[in-house]
Amino acid sequence: MITTRHLVKEFGPFHALGPLDLTIGTEQIVAVLGPSGCGKSTLLRLLAGLETPSRGTMSLDGSAIEGPQEKIGVAFQDPRLMPWLTVRENIALGIWDWPRDRIGPAVEAVIARVGLSRFSDALPKSLSGGMAQRVGLARALVGNPRLLLLDEPFGALDPLTRIRMQDHLLDLVDASIPNVLLITHDVDEALVLSDRVILLDGPPARIRRDLRVDLPKPRNRTSPDFQELKNLLLGDLLPGHGDPHPLPRTERAHHAP
């Protein structure tokens, strides 16, 4: 349960976000969409307690967020691995305060799920981009957080790996994670995974559309309801979506008959 009231973030003279009033309740996965640089990561960082708001308040499960809260998992936009730790040790950082005998099995399990068992002793400098991203994701997931903040977690993954990771996320959400905030640029991904889509505009980030996704799960991408929602969102994201003229050429081609 997240609430923000008149939340504003300024970096010096630069107005990056808000005022934002937002309430996230029982929706398990909330997807956040928006143009590059609009303030999505800033919102996520505020909720993670890593930025202090310039004005306004925010709270998680009733208590004010004034710094990093307990049991939150964050996958940053960049992998942020400790270069001196192996894959296994990097993931273990997410549960550093667990009893020692529980850390090992938990880490091995999540390493297997992100498909990096062969690389558990590798150092970050020898990982590929997508592998590093999965390690960052694994570190966010391993602690069974009550709130999971994911900043474009699947951006550097190939289709199959991406689907596997999405599945793993859905499994975890079914099992234990009550709230997920997922930043993505992929409208399909947002509609397949989430219960609600928040479309931001900015900077400064403001809510442009707040969409409940009430489609049955698992989602059917070819259903008319799905297509309707998708067109709605694409219409917001791509000005002139639908009519051929003001669009750039690749998009024009996309929608040619």
Partner: protein, 278 residues
Amino acid sequence: MSLREEAAAIRTGFLRDRKLPDPGVLWKGLAPFLLPLAILALWQSASVWHWINPLFLPSPLQVAEVLWRFFSEGTIWRHLGISVQRVFLGFGYGVAVAVLLGAVTGYSAFWRRLIDPMIHGLRTIPGLAWIPMFILWFGIDETSKVALIAKAAFFPTYLNFMSGIVNADRRLIEVGQVYRMTNAQLVRRILLPTAMPYLFVGLRQSMGVAWLVVVAAEMMGASSGIGYLLLDGEMTGRPQIVVACMIIFALCGKATDMAITGISRRLLSWQDTHERAA
């Protein structure tokens, strides 16, 4: 393998690794000795052809004689032993305090504001001026010598380590914060490793400085040690002893420096740096 393939393989290094001895290995092994040997040659020529007044710079032969006497008589071992002990103890204490304090002031702006400015004032007070106070506080036995060395060894490690922590990448620190590490954990698990490259530069300098101040420390109530030997040679105007002691200092310093860089290479193998070619 066709001729063309073989040529390509040699060019790209495939075969060279296996069949031909690598000239690079020889060069790597010898390179460090070239410059000292050149200087030795120059020095020997200078004393043979009298370019330099031998009163000032004794000939390599004279110095070698002194060194030979030192080692054959065995008296040097006692001096070397006690100096090494002083250096190591002083280095150990100084560096231990530096790492602790550097972690605290590097991490906490509160303590940094309170303590750090003072330390940088103290840093520039000459060692000589401290000696009376060290005698007052620690007497003239081993304690005061070790303390003087520790004081000198403290500053480089402190400044480097503290700077390393202050310069740490915000993005990695945030990871620790998100997982609500305690201050101690954050320092141990994130700040200390990030600051490690700085720390090792500091340690190398502290060790160097420890050797440097042995002489000053052994001015203070010693009757043994390499620094004492050097002082004695200096006071009684025997440059060959002075130069012999200089060589011993250089070798000792080099040995400890190599030990530290050896450890650092091992501990810092995770770094993604670039070995640039010649």
